[in-house]
Symmetry: C2
Subunit: 231 residues, 2 copies
DNA sequence: CAGTGGTCTAGACCACGCG
DNA sequence: GCGTGGTCTAGACCACTGT
């Protein structure tokens, strides 16, 4: 029942949580740990893989295994048209692209429609923790440049509805690399589509947040007359 | 860049998606596959582990590796006090427990408060796919028995607000076993807390849905005066 | 360069499912 | 009992990071 790797993982987890191995610190090398626990290196590595999947340990090739700092939890608040984490450092890259494939479905536009893409990576100090790709039809966001407010004002088109679809999935190779997480650590993926009163999609956003530090909160108010709209 | 396991996984994935290996079918044994791809068994197993994590293949000890049937996607609709998947077979177990630990925080009740627990496992035919644990203070759900409607009527206490918190995490050992998913496949975890107009928590639910087949949708309607009702 | 993790091998033995 | 997957070993060699 209790395989060696679980015993080792439990022991290391305990050492981390009790502070015997502090956050940010490097673990002994895999060879040393394997010797200490008298197991082969593949076995020890599989134990570390468990801690990786939990987001507790980060492996850095050529350097070692490091205890991850207890990251502050990222809270995504649903129902808001504004960026998920407004008061955050983030590097934004703006590109002009044309709609194709899945984006056409999301934005309900024909293939080739000019779009503005915001590729946004949120940081907390050195560690990245949020990846957002926002797509806006260019005719609705006329002249957005990196110098201006990166999040285009939407007052011009009154917002009618925001639909957010969430799922848990493994990160793509690109997402794992960008967010510096293990490819085995699931991300919380949020697809947000905002439509205006005319039924046009004014914004589609695809967000990926590491599962170990993200949570999304949705609050639904029910009025006294029990108007059960929604779904 | 392209490690052997990825090449093998890509090949098997292609064979599955093109239908050369059909859903429900058993793959050749790991020994056979290892021979076919001229790799060692651990390498082949690590390739299968990738497909497992994607939810494409299910391993059954002593029997073999099976291609999972393309499960219909489970859609959880946010903002509703009713069970997430109403028209579904589900086995419900009702227990009377007393609040402790995390439940006290969730339900905002002191330790020892009598609760009714609904342990609910939703099925689609033979395969389980949703695990829900619903907790209700017993004084608010006076006489609920398995024979009655399992979901207590809430008309007595007008609902004011529902807060749903979502995160992506690995399943607990119990969840993985109950849902028959690999422990490496993330679940979408939803914690739903419903409060009535008096501010009391009338229901707290903890749901776990396999990440490969679940998505949660939240719709937010914005009225002209930008009043943030729910959805 | 030395030290680290990344990948892979060719076996071994154990645990499970089924006839 | 036999075939299956589950776990583990004791190495090997490659790739990356620092000095």
């Amino acid at each position: 029942m209790a395989s060696r790797r679980h015993v080792i993982a439990d022991d290391l987890r305990a050492q981390i949580s009790t502070g015997r191995i502090k956050a940010g610190e490097r673990l002994p090398s895999e060879t040393q740990l394997a010797a200490r626990y008298t197991v082969s290196t593949p076995t020890l590595r599989s134990a570390l893989a468990l801690l990786q999947a939990e987001g507790l340990v980060e492996k850095v090739h050529g350097k070692g295994n490091f205890v991850r700092r207890p990251v502050q939890r990222i809270t995504y608040r649903g129902g808001s048209p504004t960026p998920p984490t407004p008061a955050l450092q983030s590097s934004i890259r703006v590109t002009r692209i044309r709609a194709r494939g899945h984006l056409c479905t999301l934005l309900r536009v024909p293939v080739g429609t000019p779009l503005t893409e915001f590729h946004c990576l949120s940081h907390d100090g050195t560690s990245p923790y949020g990846l957002a790709r926002v797509y806006i039809p260019r005719d609705l966001a006329p002249a957005v440049t990196p110098d201006e407010s990166p999040w285009p004002a939407k007052e011009a088109t009154p917002l009618a509805e925001i639909e957010e679809t969430l799922c848990a999935r493994l990160p793509t190779a690109l997402e794992a690399a960008t967010l510096r997480i293990s490819p085995t650590l699931a991300v919380l993926a949020i697809t947000r589509v905002a439509t205006d009163t005319a039924g046009r999609v004014v914004e589609a956003a695809v967000l990926a947040i590491p599962g170990d530090r993200a949570e999304a909160i949705f609050t639904t108010h029910h009025t006294a007359d029990d108007r059960r709209t929604e779904g």
